[in-house]
Amino acid sequence: MEVCNCIEPQWPADELLMKYQYISDFFIAIAYFSIPLELIYFVKKSAVFPYRWVLVQFGAFIVLCGATHLINLWTFTTHSRTVALVMTTAKVLTAVVSCATALMLVHIIPDLLSVKTRELFLKNKAAELDREMGLIRTQEETGRHVRMLTHEIRSTLDRHTILKTTLVELGRTLALEECALWMPTRTGLELQLSYTLRHQHPVEYTVPIQLPVINQVFGTSRAVKISPNSPVARLRPVSGKYMLGEVVAVRVPLLHLSNFQINDWPELSTKRYALMVLMLPSDSARQWHVHELELVEVVADQVAVALSHAAILEESMRARDLLMEQNVALDLARREAETAIRARNDFLAVMNHEMRTPMHAIIALSSLLQETELTPEQRLMVETILKSSNLLATLMNDVLDLSRLEDGSLQLELGTFNLHTLFREVLNLIKPIAVVKKLPITLNLAPDLPEFVVGDEKRLMQIILNIVGNAVKFSKQGSISVTALVTKSDTRAADFFVVPTGSHFYLRVKVKDSGAGINPQDIPKLFTKFAQTQSLATRSSGGSGLGLAISKRFVNLMEGNIWIESDGLGKGCTAIFDVKLGISERSNESKQSGIPKVPAIPRHSNFTGLKVLVMDENGVSRMVTKGLLVHLGCEVTTVSSNEECLRVVSHEHKVVFMDVCMPGVENYQIALCIHEKFTKQRHQRPLLVALSGNTDKSTKEKCMSFGLDGVLLKPVSLDNMRDVLSDLLERRVLYEGM
């Protein structure tokens, strides 16, 4: 028998059992080999698997197990020693790995379990976040609603629209069943249901304002949940089947302009509130959420602001309407006043002429009558007529003068005259009366008083006459002295005798009388119109009381001052006035009477070649004017009509003389036409001078308004024309010194 190293199995091979074992081992091996493959495949597929090392171990363990079972296949029959060796190695390895794996798993399995817990935890968290996001979205929605609401409310300035819109929008946003606004009544003691969203209320429904629930709501700026059964919330007939929805009320401050201080928010002490009541739908089991309440509060504030804006606007519109009315009224009044003034001026102008003409006739003829042979009675009558008419004439003149003085239309007529002669004339006029009353008058003229002065001679004489006349009138005895001197500006102290420098000086005239005197208290009243002192003595002297008022105005026009000093009743008084006069150039060197005419030295005496256009309808005047200008050396073109003038005038002509004697404004139109013709070349326009029969103020004004550069009085003398041309060419204007 050969000895073989084969190992004999322990038990005899049973054919069937062997077969089954054989097959099972085979399958086990396959499974054991395929499991790691699957694991690897799936692990590779998944991105995250933290326990790779464990996987390797496990894989090794399984592979080895599989190997063991595979090798087992060969051990069923007689097998060689090699197979047994391999089998043993495999089993040993398997044992090692499995033990290692078992030990490893002890550590790993708790970890794996905790992963599960964490996963649960995260799932919960995710659910929570979802919930919160839902909430935030809701809030954002709400915010959007608020913005939209605000926009709607603020987009109008009409109070009713604002309130209505508020209710509508709130109703829509919050899905309310009912929304109502209670406004305080005028008395402030009740709240009146003013606006509702859905239900119409036919009757004015009011509740007293002192209800506790209302006080509670007014007491806080937050929205307050109130009972659905409170009077403000009971807006519709209660029917039992409804489970009333929750009700919230909030106050709406009604602000006035006066509430706003500059520094801080309006004081809430004097406040009026309206009440807004919001009802959730009944039977809906909805609750008021915090964010909804906040929305309501915000809206209430916005409404308050919008309402106050509306109120301000209303007020300002009202004020504007009022102002416009006032404007219209003022305009009307102004126009009426202008019409009145115009009417008065017209009246005065007419009266001026109409009244003076007959007056002069009466005076002239009565004087003439006086010269004829009259019986004493007739003479007496004529004298009375003369005196009365003189008085009347003076009165008329005074009144007319005064009214012209009042509206400032009076202008001084300046001229050169002899001051000394003026005083003497005044005295001559007064002397007869003074002699009759046995009042000697003395005149003192200061030695440095200039002789020839420039001023309004007529008016100055009027002033002096008035003052001296008053002195004579109010003195029964004593004497009167008239002093004239030069003084410095308007100081009342008469200590300065300043030599007049420049071309102006101030003349001071003092008239002292020893008559009845004046109570110092009455002095201010003296210069008012129509005022008379009450004493009987003065009453008898008549006079309208206008004299001093007029004198004062003339003195003011002459930039001077007039005042009266008196030491009291019975002690006489002194009237003093200062006026500003100009010094004439030809004055104090030649003190002769009969002023020699010293012609002014012409600056331009050479007009040769000066091109001039003369327009005059009258052939003779035209020829004369032409001759005048030709003599002065000008080159003269003549035309006899407006149309011709327009045709002929060109930039070569330096001056155009136009005759405007014919009444009407047609002549003046030509000036406008010439202006038009030269609008493009302003500097080339010839100077326009009118030749007129008179140079009073209205002619001057007309000329100026039609754009003429000057006006001359016809007929023009040669010297006059020479001066005029020099003036014109130097200054391009001629409206002074006429």
Binding site: N618, M623, G627, H631, K714
Partner: protein, 155 residues
């Protein structure tokens, strides 16, 4: 011994002065005289001739207008007298100018009688002035022919 020239000159001077004193002429005439020089030696004569022609024309216009009894165009008369007034004041015919002013007033008040009377006076007046000035010019001519210079008369 008085030469002819001196005599004539004296005559001229006296006559001129008398014209001024009698109110036939005024300062404007003097101004006119000033404008006469070598360039325009006959200036005064020309102006005066033109004036008298104007007078004649205007007066006949006015006479014709006033002749339409019952239908007198006072506006026409007014404008004519305005023209005449202008002319006479340009020339220095003092009396004529004064009469024109009166005539204007009558015209403004539509005083027919007054107008007619005034117009007659104007007519007489201008003819008188014309005659007188004619004499004056004749004197001037005589002086010039005699070789003398026309004297300057200061009023």
């Amino acid at each position: 011994m008085d030469t002819l020239i001196a005599q004539l000159q004296r005559q001229f001077r006296d006559y001129t002065i008398s014209l001024y004193h009698q109110g036939f002429l005024d300062d404007q005439f003097t101004e006119l005289k000033k404008l006469q020089d070598e360039c325009s030696p006959d200036f005064v004569a020309e102006v005066v001739t033109l004036f008298f022609e104007d007078c004649e024309k205007l007066i006949s216009n006015m006479a014709r207008a006033l002749d339409q009894t019952g239908n007198v165009d006072f506006k026409l008369v007014g404008s004519s007298v305005h023209q005449l007034k202008g002319s006479s004041s340009s020339v220095g015919a003092k009396r004529v100018k004064g009469l024109c002013i009166t005539l204007k007033e009558c015209c403004d008040t539509q005083n027919y009688e007054g107008c007619v009377r005034c117009l007659q006076q104007v007519d007489i007046e201008y003819k008188t002035l014309k005659a007188k000035l004619q004499d004056l010019f004749n004197l001037e001519q005589q002086i010039v022919q005699a070789g003398g210079r026309i004297p300057q008369v200061d009023i």
